[in-house]
Structure formats: structure tokens, C-alpha cells
């Protein structure tokens, strides 16, 4: 995996067009977006003019001037190249997306009759139109299923070839234009006009066309512009100092000093870093609707995580049969297994599995037993079987107790069966249930013919390794809050087992929203993910709201990121990517500024050599000639841009080791390293130049 990532940075298919783009980006309008590089381009043009003048009029050290001018332009081109490479990676992705957007025909429905269709081009659809999509059709635009169920291939956007179910109502009603219906048919109400669909937005995002500078990037740009101004003052005043000393310094050398001093390294790579950050998310199958959201992800203080699917495996599993006094485990297991045979829910299946593994109870054939399966309903909150005049039910403890009461009333009214509620047994069941709940499990009472047999312990299985992840988050300074519909007792037990910092039990959309507001009032940034329509307000309120791609249109609109894989665990990676983005900017800024120390020691002695030869003592690198010193500095300044392109695309690695340790590490690498590296680099270039006789 990492292999393919490294090769993709150096992919010729991206690098070669990027060279052409680097020249195209010399357009002043494009350059003006980046103040530092714009200034470099302006002074390069100035020196080119001076070179041409010298060529015509004669005079000056033409060979030396020519090399300076070439390297100045290369500095600009390398910056453009870095940006082009970053964009190129996005472009490749956009290209494959664009292919899915090929002209589609839509079956526009008039009225409710699904036979009354009119074939229109997909691009002519308006918001609110209703279309019919049948097996084999491409869904013409984003929309919401208003009738029917279909399996849909969403590989075009997710890269996942397994089809997904899309159905009206509920949380899986959103469909995306460009995806294909594989079976059945659906009626879809269009929610996005052509040109503003999800895929259109994706294309724009990955291409970087919609890229706007993020708040942090703006602040950094101000700092860089300020540094540039300081160096304008520092270099523009030198000629006058030289005049005082009775000397003269050529413009070319002043320009060389100026360009090497201003923060060209970070200036050149800044936009590439931003684009690459978004790109990393896209590779992760997460779409950020704005760069601002990615930055905010790095700042997140509180992470709201849904229990199910994120902290625990989606399904609860039976782990134990707890019979009441007078009933054997075997008996309880037998009844529970019978009640679950036809139950296709994961919980039901896990009961069958446990009964077999622990008590050797084999699966029985429902038909031969003449059994009749009673499915779970929201009213009864139980399921079970009826056979040979007896009935078994399993379900929530209170539901089962209620069921017995009702049955007892029914018996009193007529039939002769002996269903009597025994209060002490009910209390015993209640006690077992409480114990299970306290341990974080879900109790499931089993009753056969009105006789309580015991309780099945269903347990939430906490995902492997999740506790370590949370410890890691804690070291990053992020508080995790588990969101669950469970009662507080169960929630507390799972929270403790998973190692989250806090939990919100019996969560409703309202108290989720108020939790977010509370955290934000304390100045914290909150991230969460959600998929249902009722998550939309919370998603909109959160600073980073990741909507699941399987979710509803409302949820997708409310969030500022969409996870195409619909994997809520990704929030953690999203935070890391945000942090990486900020760190890379900071590291390269530090490196860029630290570099200046060596450049001064290269250029200042060379510059004043003619009239202050004493300053030769500052030539601590022992550079051979003044020309070579100046050229080496400017060549180093240009080459370091190219050398750092891979780092700016990959990003500085984030380590959850605490802010202090992280800072001292980065200061050591990029601060101290930034001071030392150019001393070595400039010296090496000097050796090469003088060996080749270039200066």
C-alpha cells in the first residue's frame, strides 16, 4: 500500500504534464495569488531586462548574470511545478469521476403513474422533478428515493464494487447521480440540478478549482508577506550603505540576496501542501466540502462517536444463558435456541451459535416441528415461535413481563392453561437483568408458556484495538464522548471497557445538539459523524460533521465532509490528516526562515568584498569565489523547493506523543536542521560549481 503511494508521487503520468503546467502558471494572474512567488517573478523579469541590456550594450559579467537569471526563473518554475504536481494527482481522480458523468437519459415521470414516462436528457432535469430508474439505468442526478427499493452499484464514487441497498424512507434514501441501479426500480425525486451534483462537487474539489485559502493559510500568507517586506527593507537599504563606504553593489546581486532571504521555500510549497491535504482525504474516501473543514479537523477538541459500529461491533452477541432457580442452563438454552431458529437478526443467530457451541444443541428444522415463527414488532418488542400448542417468546425484560401479565388476564377469562405470574421469579429475572445491564450487556428474557426460564446475556463487543486508539487520542489532547441510546448503566460499563472519556446515554437528537453547543460554549471544537435525517442539526452545528455516504440527503447537506465508505471510525484519521496539514505548513515555514542564516553567511561577505574585504572573515563556509558564493546560495534556494515537494505532498508525520514532545522534535528537525542543512548544501554546490568552472 505504502509502495503504491510513493510511486504515485513520482508517477510520470503526473510529472510530465506538470512540467507544461509549470510554464502555463507563469501567467501573472495565476502568480498574483501567491505574493512571495509573485515578487520573485517580478525581480526575475527585472534581472532578465538588465541581462538583455548588458548583452546589447556589452559589459558586466554576462556568464554569471545569465546563470543567476536562469536560476531565478527556475525558482519560480519549481514553485509552479510543485503546485502542478499536487493538482495533477487530483486531476487524475477527477478524470475518472468525469467519465461517470457521461450523458445519461432520464425517465421523467409525469404524475404518479409510473407508465407515463418521457425520455429526457439527464442534464435537463430540474430540482423537484421525479424520475423512474430501473435495473440497468444510470441514476441521472442526485436525488432521494420516494418509492421502491433497489440495489445500487456506487463503485463510481466509492470504489467499492459490492452493491448497496437504497430505499424510500429511513436513512438510506439518498442516491447519487452517476451510480447504477442493478436490480428492481425506484422513483427518485431530484435534489440537485445538473452541474451542482455531488459528483460535480467532487470533481471541483479534487481538481482544486474551488480551492479557497483557508483562514490559517491566510494568516500564514500575511506572515510571509510581512517577512518579504522586512527583507525588502533589509536589502533595499544596502546600496546606500555601500555608497557611504564608497562602493557599489550591482542590482543583480541585491536581487540574488533578496530572493534567497524571502521565504521562497514555504511560499512555493504552500498551495501544494493545501491541495495535498485535501487529496489525502480523498484517497481516504472522505470528501471535505471546504479546506476550512480539514483545518478545523486538526483543531478538534472533542470527538463524538456513535457507540454502535464505531466503538462496538455493530451487533450484540449472546455470551451466556442465565436461568432462574429451578431451570437448568440446558433447558433455557434449548428454549432460546428454538425461539431464535428463524430469527435472522445477528442477535438471534448468535443465540443459536452459542447454544450449539456451549450445549451441543443442534439446529432443528422449523417445518418438521410445525413451528410458526413470530417476528419482532415494535409493539410487542419480542419474537419467538409457536408450535404444538406451546409458545416461546424472547425479548426485552419489561416487554416479556408485560406479555405474561396480559396472558394471565387472557387465561382468567377463559382457557384452562396454567399461566401464573410468580412474583418472586419475576423479581429474580429483574435482578439478573440489572446485573447484566450493569456489566454493559443487554438482557433478553425468555418465557415458555408463561413460565420465565431465565435471561440471555447479549453483549456489546468492543472493537479490538479501540481502547488503544482512544488512549492515542487522549495523548493528542482530544476528548472522546460515546453517544448511545442505551441506558446510563449500560453506557457507563461500555464506556469504561472501551476507554472513552465520557458518554451520552439515551441520546436523542436534541441532547446531542445541546451537548455540542455546550462543548462549543467552552471554546472547544467538536467533530461528529452521523447519517440519519435527525442527525442533520447536530452535523450542521458540529465544527467537523462527517456525513455517511449511505445517509440521507439532509445529513449529507448538513455535514462538511462526506465519508464515502460510511465508516465512522475514520473520524480519527480525519483528525490526523488535519493535524498533518497544519504541521507541514509550520515545519516548512520554520525550515524556510532558518535557512536564511546560512544564506547571509554566503552572500554578505561576497557582496561587500570589494570595499570591506575584512568581512571575508564571515565566509565561514570557505566558498571559493564571490560569484560562486552567490550562485550557490541561489541554486540551493531553488533546488530545496524541488527536494521538498515529496514532503509537502506526503505531509509531516503526525505522532501522538503530546504537544511539547512533538514541538521539540519538529523544532529540532526543521528549525535546527533548517539552520544546518543549507550550510552543507551551499558548500557542496560551491564545490560542484567551481569544479565545473561555472563560477
Amino acid at each position: 500500500m505504502s509502495q503504491s503511494k510513493t510511486t504515485s508521487i513520482l508517477d510520470a503520468r503526473i510529472l510530465i504534464p506538470a512540467i507544461g503546467d509549470a510554464f502555463r502558471k507563469l501567467n501573472p494572474k495565476t502568480l498574483a495569488r501567491n505574493p512571495v512567488m509573485f515578487v520573485v517573478a517580478v525581480v526575475s523579469a527585472l534581472t532578465t531586462f538588465l541581462l538583455v541590456r548588458d548583452l546589447i550594450a556589452g559589459g558586466g559579467n554576462i556568464g554569471f548574470s545569465f546563470q543567476i537569471v536562469v536560476w531565478l526563473w527556475l525558482t519560480v518554475l519549481f514553485a509552479n511545478f510543485a503546485e502542478a504536481v499536487a493538482e495533477g494527482r487530483g486531476k487524475a481522480q477527477a478524470e475518472s469521476l468525469r467519465r461517470t458523468r457521461t450523458e445519461t437519459q432520464a425517465k421523467l415521470l409525469k404524475g404518479d403513474d409510473i407508465r407515463n414516462v418521457k425520455i429526457v436528457p439527464g442534464t435537463s432535469l430540474k430540482v423537484g422533478d421525479v424520475v423512474l430508474v430501473e435495473a440497468g439505468d444510470i441514476i441521472p442526478s442526485d436525488g432521494e428515493v420516494i418509492e421502491g427499493v433497489a440495489s445500487v452499484n456506487e463503485a463510481a464514487i466509492t470504489g467499492e464494487s459490492a452493491p448497496v441497498i437504497r430505499e424510500s424512507g429511513g436513512d438510506r434514501s439518498a442516491v447519487t447521480g452517476g451510480t447504477q441501479v442493478l436490480s428492481d426500480w425506484i422513483r427518485v425525486r431530484i435534489t440537485a440540478a445538473s452541474g451542482s451534483t455531488f459528483i460535480d462537487r467532487m470533481i471541483a474539489l479534487v481538481e482544486g478549482a474551488e480551492r479557497q485559502k483557508t483562514p490559517n493559510e491566510i494568516a500564514l500568507n500575511i506572515l510571509l508577506a510581512g517577512m518579504t517586506l522586512i527583507f525588502v527593507l533589509a536589502t533595499a537599504t544596502i546600496p546606500s550603505f555601500a555608497t557611504y563606504a564608497g562602493g557599489y553593489i550591482p542590482v543583480l546581486i541585491l536581487v540574488a540576496l533578496f530572493v534567497t532571504l524571502i521565504p521562497t521555500t514555504i511560499g512555493a510549497l504552500l498551495s501544494a501542501i493545501g491541495i495535498a491535504g485535501m487529496d489525502r482525504l480523498v484517497r481516504f474516501n472522505v470528501l471535505a466540502m471546504s479546506g476550512r473543514a480539514v483545518e478545523a479537523a486538526g483543531d478538534v477538541d472533542t470527538l463524538l462517536l456513535d457507540k454502535t459500529g464505531t466503538i462496538t461491533l455493530g451487533n450484540r452477541q449472546a455470551t451466556e444463558f442465565k436461568p432462574v432457580r429451578g431451570v437448568t442452563e440446558q433447558e433455557l438454552a434449548d428454549a432460546a435456541q428454538l425461539a431464535s431458529l428463524a430469527d435472522e437478526t445477528p442477535e438471534g443467530r448468535s443465540i443459536v451459535v452459542l447454544a450449539k457451541e456451549k450445549y451441543g444443541i443442534r439446529a432443528r428444522d422449523m417445518a418438521s416441528l410445525h413451528a410458526n415463527f413470530v417476528p419482532f414488532t415494535a409493539q410487542s418488542r419480542m419474537s419467538g415461535v409457536d408450535f404444538d400448542g406451546s409458545s416461546i417468546r424472547k425479548g426485552a425484560v419489561d416487554a416479556v413481563l408485560q406479555h405474561i401479565d396480559r396472558a394471565a388476564v387472557a387465561t382468567a377469562n377463559g382457557t384452562a392453561s396454567v399461566i401464573v405470574r410468580e412474583p418472586q421469579v419475576a423479581r429474580e429475572v429483574q435482578a439478573i437483568a440489572d446485573e447484566i445491564a450493569k456489566a454493559g450487556g443487554t438482557p433478553l428474557a425468555v418465557v415458555k408458556d408463561g413460565r420465565l426460564l431465565g435471561v440471555v446475556h447479549l453483549k456489546d463487543i468492543v472493537k479490538g484495538g479501540i481502547k488503544e486508539r482512544f488512549a492515542e487520542l487522549r495523548r493528542m489532547g482530544i476528548r472522546t464522548v460515546m453517544i448511545t441510546g442505551d441506558n446510563p448503566m449500560t453506557a457507563a460499563a461500555i464506556a469504561a471497557e472501551a476507554g472513552v472519556d465520557d458518554f451520552l446515554a439515551q441520546a436523542t437528537p436534541e441532547n446531542k445538539l445541546s451537548l455540542i453547543r455546550e462543548e462549543q460554549a467552552k471554546g472547544k471544537l467538536v467533530a461528529m459523524c452521523g447519517d440519519g435525517t435527525n442527525d442533520a442539526p447536530a452535523l450542521a452545528q458540529a465544527d467537523v460533521g462527517v456525513a455517511m455516504n449511505t445517509g440521507t440527503v439532509a445529513a449529507r447537506e448538513a455535514g462538511n465532509m462526506v465519508d464515502l465508505d460510511s465508516d465512522p471510525t475514520k473520524l480519527i484519521e480525519i483528525v490526523e490528516i488535519g493535524k498533518q496539514l497544519l504541521m507541514t505548513r509550520g515545519a516548512l515555514t520554520t525550515f524556510s526562515i532558518a535557512n536564511d542564516v546560512a544564506k547571509y553567511f554566503a552572500i554578505i561577505p561576497a557582496m561587500f568584498l570589494a570595499f570591506y574585504p575584512q568581512l571575508g572573515a564571515l565566509n565561514i563556509m570557505g566558498l571559493q569565489t564571490p560569484e560562486s558564493a552567490i550562485l550557490s546560495a541561489i541554486i540551493f534556494n531553488a533546488l530545496i523547493i524541488v527536494a521538498l515537494i515529496p514532503l509537502s505532498l506526503k505531509g509531516v508525520k503526525y505522532r501522538p506523543i503530546g504537544a511539547g514532545a512533538l514541538l521539540s522534535r519538529n523544532l529540532l528537525v526543521y528549525g535546527l536542521g533548517g539552520i544546518i542543512v543549507p550550510f552543507i548544501g551551499i558548500k557542496l554546490i560551491d564545490v560542484v560549481l567551481t569544479t565545473l568552472g561555472l563560477a
Binding site: 506572515l223 489532547g477 482530544i478 498533518q580 497544519l582 520554520t590 536564511d596 554578505i604 575584512q614 512533538l662
Partner: protein, 567 residues
């Protein structure tokens, strides 16, 4: 360098460090409007003043109002001081019969004293009447110091308050600083100076006959009271031309020690005020430590350079360090220490001739000022100056921990960075550009006393000192010309107000922000790492800005000296 010299330096450092906490505690209570030891005297006065001005303790100001009040107050002070000088001949308390100060000089002096710079293009004893000295200069010595402290407090409130609009009330801050801090300390210090032999009189100059029979006029005046505030308020404007080298201003080692301590006392204590106000004294100590590191580095280099002396002089058989331009009663260590203190803080008082320092010894005062005088700094000014550097340091370093940078829970964003950059930019603008113009103007160059790099340093030092609001002079330069009076006045005003306005804007922006609670993801700003980071950023930003100009000034002079060439 001698053991004795180092002991004197360490005694000074020890006293300053010991004063930080008690003085900081007292000042915090003053700014918070709490009852203090002196409330029984000053509280009624304070209330009376507010009633007279039609304001009250509860009235708070938005940063723009605060800035407007400050600018208005300073403008009024400037005009008053200008007019006093112009009309001193017609005004009382003028026993020496001084005539009107010329307009350019009056402008320069008014700008200089209103901004706590106290650059003096005149000799006090031969130019200013007692009235101008007392009602003009000394008054500005108090209020310019109080202004600086008020701004520092306003900026601290930007960090200590959250989600509000106001940063305090300028009039109240000004009144409290003057009444509770500057006045009482100055009364005590004046008495001490008088006890140590500093004159304090409104009588006329004394005529004396020397042993040789010559007639000599001995200048006197209300010296002790002016010296007290001159040092405590980091003003630095001497009563006499020779400043703290004059035996009437600074008679002996004890008075010298008291003066050095009083230069640093308030500025250093402000770090503690900061720590207390933001609820974590360690934050204040971290800034104090940064200042201490930079200060001690300067002292070591300066003392070493002066003690090492000039190899060319040694070659002539004269052993020892560089005593040229130094008072024998202070010696090399206390002269070097004083020079570093006076330029680290924006005091500008001198007890030795900086012009006569070795090139490297003179480099340190120059760098201290070019860094913006943030090592303790001028009262208040140094503190808000270093906080602006903190904003920059935090911004770059904060990114490296992967979060939007934050300091004390306040996010550092575009607005703060913009303002900090503006403030930091104004120093090179004033120092470098004006120097660059002056060194190519024949009239301006004519004012220098020495040719070559040393003369260059004289001009550079003048603009650096003016823009940094220091007020000390390298000497040698004849500053009382129309060109220098006006351009130095401009540099002074730029260096003061182009920093104050952005600093208050930062305060206004921060005060409205929420305070984010610290977590393991925010890097600690009260430890050694932060001290190292902040010192590094200050040195690198300052160093990169001024390296070329220092190279063609003191550095080349030093290298030339090693090669046997002097200027």
C-alpha cells in the same frame, strides 16, 4: 573580566529577580482596583479625579476608544511641552535666563519626552529652564511611562478576559499607575538620592572659584526628583548633559545600583502581573526567563568585549580593558552592565560613553534596541513588545503541533498575525530607511565625528535609539541640526505609535475571543521549550533583519580592528 565585576552583576540580577513577585503582586492589585497599602491616601484622590473628569471606575472602553483617548492625551502633552519650551523665556522659574528653544529642537524634544524616549539633542543645564524641566519634561516622564504601562495592561487583559468587548479604561489605568505606583516610589527614591548627595534645589547655579583661580559655574537644580522618575519610568533623559555619568546625577556605586535596579524593576514585575492576571504565574516567569536569557547573553558579550579591550592598545604596552569614556567610580563591569540595561530596557540613561566602547561592546546595545527593546524593555513598552513576538513565535510553532496556534487559550489568527507583523515591521522601516537616507546626505554625514564604519554606526545608533524609543546616544554625532531634529523626531513617533496601535488592536481582537481550555494537544508555554523557542524567534527575526546593517557597521569595524585598522 573579574570576580568582583561578576559579583556586582549578579547582585544586580538577584535584586531584580527578588523584586518581581512583590512588586508584581502590588501592581496587579492596583490594576484590579483592589485595596492596597496606599488606598487610604489615594483612593479619595482617585475618586475626586474621576468625578472631576466625569468618568467612573465602572466605565470600560473598546480598544478603539482606548486608543483614541491615549492618542488625544499624548497629543495634548506634546503640544503643552512644545509651547512651554518655545515660551520659557517669558515664564517663571527661569533663574538662568534661558531663551526660547528653537522650533525643530522643541519638536524633537516634545516628541522625545512624550513617547518615553528622552532623546536629547540639547544639554539640559544650558537649554531648559527649571519650569520646563519640572512642569514639562518631568511631567512627561511620569505620564509617558504610565501610558506604556497602561497599554501593557490593556494587552494583558486581551489574554486574561474572554468574550467581552472592552480592554479597560485608559484614564483609569493612567491615573492608577501614576498615583499608586510611580508617585510613591519616586518620592522614596528622591529622598534616597538626596541622601546620597544628589542636589534638589530651585536655587540659582553656583559660582565657584577653582584652585587655579578660574571662575566656574556649577549647574544645580531639582535633580533628584527628575532622576527618580527618569530611571523608574525608563525615560533616561538626564538633567545634565553627561547624564548618569555626572557625579550630581549618579554620585557612587550605591546610587548606580539603585538606578540600575529601578530601570528594570517595573518592566520585570510586569511579567508577574501578566502571570497573575492570566491565572498562572509560571506564564509570567517563562517570559521573564526569556528576557533573562537574552539579557545575560548581552551582558556576557559586552562585558567580555570591554574587559578584553583593544589589542592595538595592548600592543602599545597598555594592559587592561577598555576604560576610554568610562567613569573610574564605576569601572568596566558596571559600565558594561549599565549599557546593556539601559538599552535592554528603553531607558537611554548612560553612565559611560557608548561611543568609546569597543565595536563588539557597542554592538550589544545596538542589537538590544533593534530587537525592539523587549528585554524587560521600557515600562510597559517592553512587555507589549515581547507579547507581539510571542504572537509570532506561537503562530509558527503552534502550527508545528498540528493545531491552530493558541496562546493562553486564545487562538492566534490572521488579525493578530497581521498586527504583530505591522508592529515588528515599523522598526526596520524607521531604523534602516532613515539611516540609509542619512548616510548618503552630505549634510547629515557632516554631523559625524569619525569616518568609516564607526561614523556609520553613529548614525545607525541615533535612528535605532530614536525608533526604539531608547534615547541613549552613541555620541560623536552632532544631533542638533534641523535634519536630525526632524527625522529623529519622526523616527521616535513611528517607533512609538506604529507599535502601540497594532498592540491595542491585538488586545481588542483577543479580548473578544473565547478561551479554549488547554489539553494535551496544546503545547505548554510555561516551560523551557517555550523560553528557547521565543528567544530563538526573537534572535532570528531580529538578526535576519539587521544582519547586513550590522555587518557594515560594528562587525566590519571589529574585524578591521583585529587587522590593525581603526576609525
Amino acid at each position: 573580566m573579574t570576580i568582583n565585576g561578576w559579583i556586582q552583576i549578579l547582585v544586580f540580577c538577584g535584586i531584580v529577580a527578588l523584586l518581581v513577585k512583590p512588586l508584581g503582586g502590588y501592581m496587579t492589585r492596583v490594576f484590579g482596583g483592589e485595596r492596597t497599602l496606599l488606598s487610604w491616601i489615594f483612593a479619595p484622590v482617585e475618586r475626586g479625579l474621576y468625578a472631576l473628569a466625569g468618568t467612573s471606575e465602572r466605565e470600560e472602553q473598546h480598544w478603539t476608544t482606548y486608543a483614541a483617548a491615549l492618542l488625544f492625551f499624548n497629543l495634548a502633552g506634546f503640544l503643552l511641552l512644545y509651547l512651554l519650551q518655545r515660551f520659557q523665556g517669558a515664564l517663571p522659574f527661569n533663574p538662568a535666563g534661558m531663551t526660547a528653544v528653537p522650533p525643530e529642537l522643541a519638536f524633537n524634544t516634545a516628541a522625545s519626552f512624550m513617547t518615553n524616549t528622552n532623546w536629547q539633542n540639547y544639554g539640559g543645564e544650558s537649554t531648559m529652564s527649571y519650569l520646563v524641566q519640572m512642569a514639562g519634561l518631568t511631567v512627561q516622564n511620569f505620564v509617558s511611562a504610565a501610558t506604556g504601562i497602561a497599554i501593557a495592561i490593556a494587552l494583558i487583559r486581551g489574554f486574561s478576559r474572554a468574550s467581552v468587548k472592552s480592554i479597560g479604561n485608559f484614564w483609569i489605568d493612567l491615573t492608577r499607575v501614576t498615583l499608586y505606583i510611580l508617585l510613591p516610589l519616586c518620592v522614596v527614591l528622591t529622598l534616597v538620592y538626596v541622601y546620597l548627595g544628589v542636589p534638589q534645589t530651585l536655587g540659582a547655579y553656583v559660582e565657584a572659584t577653582t584652585l587655579e583661580g578660574a571662575q566656574q559655574t556649577i549647574a544645580l537644580g531639582p535633580v533628584a526628583s527628575q532622576i527618580a522618575i527618569k530611571m523608574l519610568g525608563t525615560n533616561g533623559g538626564g538633567f545634565f548633559n553627561a547624564n548618569a555619568a555626572h557625579p550630581f546625577e549618579n554620585p557612587d556605586a550605591i546610587s548606580n545600583l539603585i538606578q540600575m535596579v529601578s530601570i528594570f524593576a517595573i518592566g520585570a514585575a510586569l511579567t508577574n502581573v501578566f502571570g497573575r492576571m492570566v491565572g498562572n504565574e509560571r506564564q509570567g516567569w517563562a517570559i521573564f526567563a526569556t528576557m533573562a536569557v537574552l539579557f545575560l547573553a548581552g551582558v556576557v558579550v559586552c562585558y567580555w568585549a570591554e574587559a578584553a579591550g583593544n589589542p592595538l592598545v595592548h600592543a602599545l604596552g597598555l594592559e587592561g580593558g577598555n576604560m576610554e569614556g568610562k567613569e573610574v567610580r564605576f569601572g568596566i563591569s558596571l559600565s558594561a552592565l549599565f549599557a546593556v540595561i539601559t538599552t535592554a530596557a528603553s531607558c537611554g540613561a548612560v553612565n559611560a560613553m557608548h561611543d568609546s566602547f569597543t565595536a563588539l561592546g557597542g554592538l550589544i546595545p545596538l542589537i538590544n534596541m533593534q530587537l525592539g527593546e523587549i528585554i524587560v524593555g521600557g515600562v510597559g513598552a517592553g512587555f507589549y513588545g515581547i507579547l507581539l513576538f510571542v504572537v509570532l513565535a506561537i503562530f509558527v510553532a503552534g502550527l508545528m503541533v498540528g493545531r491552530t496556534p493558541e496562546y493562553l487559550g486564545k487562538k492566534i489568527e490572521a488579525k493578530e498575525v497581521k498586527m504583530a507583523v505591522l508592529a515588528i515591521l515599523c522598526l526596520p522601516l524607521a531604523m534602516l530607511v532613515l539611516t540609509a537616507i542619512a548616510v548618503v546626505l552630505p549634510d547629515a554625514v557632516a554631523s559625524i565625528a569619525n569616518p568609516g564604519p564607526h561614523g556609520f554606526s553613529e548614525i545607525l545608533y541615533a535612528y535605532t535609539s530614536a525608533a526604539a524609543n531608547n534615547g541613549s546616544a552613541l555620541g560623536g554625532l552632532t544631533g542638533n541640526t534641523a535634519w536630525y531634529n526632524i527625522t529623529l523626531g519622526i523616527a521616535i513617533l513611528m517607533g512609538r505609535f506604529l507599535v502601540i496601535i497594532p498592540a491595542l488592536a491585538v488586545a481588542g481582537s483577543l479580548v473578544a475571543k473565547k478561551t479554549v481550555p488547554a489539553s494535551a494537544g496544546t503545547f505548554p508555554t510555561d516551560g523551557a521549550l517555550f523560553v528557547g523557542l521565543l528567544s530563538g524567534v526573537i534572535l532570528i527575526v531580529g538578526g535576519l533583519t539587521f544582519f547586513p546593517v550590522l555587518a557594515v557597521g560594528p562587525i566590519v569595524e571589529h574585524l578591521a580592528m583585529l587587522l590593525g585598522q581603526t576609525f
